[in-house]
Symmetry: C2
Subunit: 450 residues, 2 copies
């Protein structure tokens, strides 16, 4: 009896264990799948991880070798800390952080030394009071300065490090008699750490924020082109695809990444086809126009989903023009995207924009309803009229996008290719590998978890 | 002659100096104006600056008083560092950073100690090799883990600190014979710094990310209500206001701040009307629906700017319904915003939504065109038809917003007020002070500089 009971308990226990181990197994498999996807979406992530490991290991060598250690002593720790904190995914972000850190440290160390010197003059009793007061005032003012939007965008980290170093130097000066040596060693190790981080980030498979910005902005235009293409075909075929809408929505959410990338790219030196003072800010303008037409297309989408009740004879007349308009607009956007990608000066006026304008005229003519059409419930025409009107709106947006890409072209001296566009093919192949979601995930601080 | 020349030079020099000083003066005045505006937009910024100054000064006292210093020694520096790095604007952000830092430090310190112990066993020659290898592997793996979106959203800082501490402990263990003491002191000082930062952040005029999220989401709904109200009036009056459009556009760009605030708010304890496990994620849903109707309204706007050429007799018929629809929708949104703000369970069905649906029916009836209307150029009706159709679309969006606020209400046990809504007035007054731009600027890492 007892044996049976025991067996029953054992069996249940075994089953429980089995269930748990199989659910654990499922979780591990899921984790591996996600890891693989993460690495596959953007292989640069693996390279980046190895680069960080290499940089930290290199810096930690200072501890192991006597001659290196003797020069720096325990301060070598600051070099390790610097590498960990400064090493970012893109060259621009790393350079920005590194420069901020080095400049802020130097400035704060000298000011902290000055505060210490002044406090020293005031005598033993007053010293802590003066030091505390200066720490309080500097910390409060610097914290407030960090709220200025322009400073927050590019120098936030520098101001943080400024408070940090000022406090460390001025406060530890109270105890440490070798304050000059402390400040000097701290500055030197931070310089060293920053140097190693920048060196490895720059020379081993560098990730350029500028490249990613360039791809992101041209990808976004391409996504709109795809959407319009699909829309034009759908309007005659009645098939719908969620993927295209997802693409269009991802354009709407890429603003903050674009902004980060512009800020990073501005730190970057000349690389590839981009010069040092490449007009990065112009990308912001193109991006915002792209989003403006994405708003239109997003609204357009609801007229695909709602059943259209337009009377057939009017519908046929209008549909052809609408379809033509969206396909020509899509071609125009595709042209713009490929010109941007290959850094070619776009041709003015774009033939596809002209064609879609012609289709617009046809549409307008088709909208004239004679007495032969009989009674009309305007309500039935509303959906297709809305589509027409949003498409007309989109064309003027596309013209603005073409203009701003043209401006970028003249600012950045894009090459002029009159006949044939094959020369930019390498650049195109090089730039079109990454999906937008990977770029957004790589560079943005705030990640949206759906 | 020479005198005259000298005088001329002096005069020019004086003029140059004057011009320079006046331009400098203008710049200083401009800076003061901006500073004042920054402080006025959100006075909590000044309070925050003083709080940071106070926290750092408090921590630096450890250096000045013998008994405190004797316990911690030079490690007291880590406490200063911790306060500077952990102290964020909102309680949620500070708690998140602090917990990340403390947990990551403890875990990494014990692992680093383990690595040191293992390397010790391997003998003098192999020790640096084993240590370097473990640093490389841990750094690379941790860096890769930081790419997982879910981890990046909430634990990014923790993983950064993990690498940092692991390297520091395992590497400095090679030199330092008192490694246990080093690890212990580091952990203790970091705990101390975090404790002081959290204490001051929590008890002196705390800024709750949850409160700001709540205001941001309800403000956004209110902005749409204002826009629709203005639209309804404009459609009869032909006056236009840029401010309303700006409000609508700011809704479109608040997504990332909303996401940050959700992540911060989830760290926060019970405060005010919010419980510990307040359903913060539901705000994400309401926010995204709000943005969805903002897209519609943004498209709507272009039909105000374009000159409407609709024939008068049809226009008059339609305009009244359109105007009514947008004003009723606006009232519905205003209701929802105020219910959310005062945390009142919204009434179902919302009477204003019902009224705007009735207006929609009128509009649909008005869209029937009989033979008496004569020849019609559909093109002339397109603008107003589009407006009608976008408005109809907006109503269904508003219904969804009302639903999701209702869901939030039942998840968070909003109070039910059947008759009169005066009871929530205090909360309303408390919550409506800040403009969205201030909230976005305070909490977002990436700031857009226009």
């Amino acid at each position: 009896m007892s044996d049976e009971k025991n067996e029953g308990v054992l069996a249940r226990w075994g089953e429980g264990l089995k269930a748990k181990s199989s659910s654990l197994k499922a979780k591990v498999v899921e984790l591996l799948r996600k890891t693989k996807k993460l690495a596959k979406d953007d292989p640069r992530r693996i390279v980046h991880s190895f680069k960080v490991g290499l940089a930290i290991t290199l810096v930690s060598l200072f501890y192991y070798f006597e001659p290196l250690y003797d020069g720096l002593g325990a301060s070598a720790m600051w070099a390790v800390l610097t590498v960990v904190v400064v090493f970012e995914f893109s060259v621009g972000a790393t350079l920005g952080r590194g420069l901020n850190r080095v400049l802020a440290t130097s400035l704060a160390a000298s000011l902290g030394f000055g505060a210490h010197f002044l406090a020293d003059l005031a005598g033993d009793k007053a010293q802590p009071v003066i030091l505390s007061l200066s720490v309080f005032i500097f910390a409060a003012i610097t914290t407030f300065i960090r709220f200025f939007p322009r400073i927050k965008a590019r120098y936030d980290y520098g101001f943080l490090i400024f408070i940090l170093t000022f406090c460390l130097v001025s406060v530890s000066g109270y105890r440490d008699d070798e304050i000059l040596q402390v400040a000097y060693r701290r500055a030197l190790t931070i310089l060293l750490g920053t140097f190693i981080a920048i060196l490895i980030c720059l020379f081993i498979c560098p990730v350029w924020a500028g490249d990613d910005l360039h791809s992101l902005v041209s990808n976004n235009i391409q996504l709109l082109a795809n959407f319009l293409q699909g829309f034009g075909v759908q309007y005659s075929n009645e098939s719908k695809e969620d993927e295209l809408l997802e693409g269009c929505k991802s354009v709407l959410t890429s603003r903050q990444t674009e902004e980060s990338l512009v800020n990073f790219a501005r730190w970057e030196p000349r690389h590839g086809a981009f010069k040092f003072r490449h007009p990065w800010k112009q990308y912001r303008k193109i991006g915002s126009l792209t989003r403006q037409s994405a708003y239109r297309l997003e609204s357009l989408n609801s007229y695909l989903v709602t059943e259209t009740q337009t009377p057939l004879h009017i519908r046929d007349r209008l549909m052809k023009s609408c379809s033509k308009m969206s396909i020509e607009s899509s071609n125009a956007l595709e042209d713009i995207a490929s010109d941007l990608r290959t850094m070619t000066q776009p041709t003015f006026p774009n033939p596809h924009i002209e064609k879609s304008k012609a289709a617009m005229k046809d549409l307008k003519a088709a909208l004239k309803i004679g007495p032969g059409d009989g009674d009309i419930d305007l309500l039935e025409i509303v959906p297709i009229a809305t589509v027409a009107s949003l498409l007309i709106d989109t064309i003027s947006c596309i013209e603005k996008i073409a203009e701003s890409v043209g401006e970028l072209g003249s600012l950045a001296n894009f090459k002029c290719v009159e006949a044939g566009k094959s020369s930019g093919l390498e650049l195109e192949q090089e730039h079109q590998k990454l999906p937008n979601s990977a770029i957004v995930n790589d560079h943005c601080h705030v990640v949206i978890v759906d």
